[in-house]
Symmetry: C2
Subunit: 227 residues, 2 copies
C-alpha cells in the first residue's frame, strides 16, 4: 500500500465515501471499519479539506451522522453530500413536484418539498417499500405525465448487509424505465454533477481532489502480510 | 375491414390470442369482447385448425379455460398454448430446478417440477407477489449460481385492467437482469419458438397460418362507420 503522504501529494481535498469506507451497515447501526475513526480524525487535523460523499438514501443525513458519531466519527451534517438534498435542489430549481417512492427513513429530507399534484417521480432505495402496489403507483403517475421525469437517487445494483445481498435502487429504476419507455436521471454517485457539488462545498477543484471509495480504502493501514 | 374469407385465403390454421381478442380481463372473470364467442364457433366449424395462444401467466390453463367456457367460448385446455407449460417443457429438457417467482394462480402448472435446490429462476406476472422480499430471494438465488439462468414468462411492459394500468412481468425481468448482469430467456410471445410450438400442436406451417393478436382483431365484425 502506498503511504498516505505519497497518495495525497498535490491533493487539497478528499472526498470520503461512507458505507464500506467508514463503516459497514447492518443491524444495530453497523460497525466502524477498523482504523477508520482515527483516519478521519487524522485527515481533519491535516491541511486537507474533507467532504463525506454518500449514496445513502434510506436515512436522512441527521440520522446517518448520529449513527456515525455514536461509532466515534468526527462528522457533522453540514459536511455530508447525499443524494436526497441534491435531488431537492433539482426539484426546486425545475419546479418539480415529486411522487416519492422512498424509504420512510429519508422522508424528512423532503419536508420542504411540495408533493401535491405530482409532475415527476423520485425513486430511492426504498427497501421493503418496493411493493408491487407502490411500484405500480409510481408507474401510473409516470404514465399520466406528458413528459415523464424519473429521478433516481443512485443506480446501484445491490449492496451487502450482514444478512446477505440486498437489491438496491438501480434494478427498480430499470423496471420503471422499461415499463414507461423512458430514461431516469441519476442523482448521486457516479454522476459527475454529484461529485462536483461535493467539491464545490469545500472549494476544491477536481484535479486537486482524491476520492476514497470502496472497496479501495487506502486511508486505513492494513495489517502486515504474513510471509 | 377485409372480409374474413379474403383475410384467410391460403390459410390452414389460425392462432388466436385470448386477452384482448376473446375477452377483457378484470374483476369477476372479465367480459367477452362483443362478437368473439360467435367468431370462435364459426372458426371451429370451418376447415381451419385453431389454436389459442396466450401469455397469461397469472392463471393455470384449467382456470383460464373454465373462465372462458363460462363466458360461452368453445375451448378446452388441450387447445391452449401458454408460457407456463412451455417453460415446464424447457425445465425438464435441461434438467433445471426452478426457484419460482410466480402468481399463486399458476403454481399448479408446476406441480410436476422439482423445485428443490434450485439452479434457475422462473419469473412470471406475479402481481402482488412482486414484493421486495420475494424479488430479493430470487436475486439471491441467481447470485449464488455459477451460471445464472433466468426464465421469464413473457416480457410485457404492462397491461390494462378495469382499475387502470398494471405492471407486467417485463419490468421485473429487467430489474433482475440489471441486478445480476444477465439476460433472461423469454418464454411466450413474442418468442418465435413459442409460436412455433403452437403451430406444431395443430400441424400447420408458419406460412399457412394467421395469428390474431390484439389490438388488431379482424375476426370480429365492426359496427359500420357513421359518415
Amino acid at each position: 500500500m502506498a503511504p498516505l503522504g505519497e497518495l495525497l501529494a498535490g491533493v487539497r481535498g478528499v472526498l470520503l465515501d461512507i458505507s464500506g469506507v467508514l463503516y459497514d451497515s447492518g443491524a444495530g447501526g453497523g460497525t466502524a471499519i477498523a482504523g477508520s475513526v482515527e483516519a478521519v480524525a487524522r485527515l481533519k487535523r491535516s491541511r486537507l479539506k474533507v467532504r463525506f460523499c454518500t449514496n445513502e438514501s434510506q436515512k436522512s443525513r441527521a440520522e446517518l451522522v448520529g449513527q456515525l458519531r455514536r461509532l466515534g466519527f468526527d462528522i457533522s451534517e453540514g459536511e455530508v453530500t447525499a443524494p436526497a438534498p441534491a435531488a431537492c435542489q433539482i426539484l426546486k430549481e425545475r419546479g418539480l413536484r415529486p411522487h416519492l417512492l422512498i424509504h420512510d427513513g429519508v422522508r424528512s429530507e423532503f419536508d420542504q418539498i411540495d408533493t401535491s399534484n405530482p409532475n415527476c417521480v423520485v425513486i430511492a432505495d426504498a427497501g421493503e417499500s418496493f411493493s408491487y402496489q407502490n411500484m405500480n403507483s409510481a408507474f401510473q403517475v409516470l404514465m399520466e405525465l406528458e413528459n415523464p421525469v424519473l429521478i433516481s437517487l443512485g443506480k446501484g445494483r445491490y449492496y451487502k448487509e450482514t444478512s446477505g445481498l440486498m437489491l438496491d435502487v438501480g434494478p427498480y429504476m430499470k423496471a420503471l424505465e422499461y415499463a414507461c419507455g423512458i430514461q431516469a436521471e441519476v442523482v448521486g454517485k457516479p454522476s459527475p454533477e454529484f461529485f462536483k457539488s461535493a467539491l464545490q462545498a469545500i472549494g476544491v477543484e477536481a484535479h486537486q481532489a482524491q476520492a476514497i471509495l470502496p472497496p479501495l480504502c487506502p486511508l486505513i493501514p492494513q495489517p502486515p502480510r504474513s510471509s
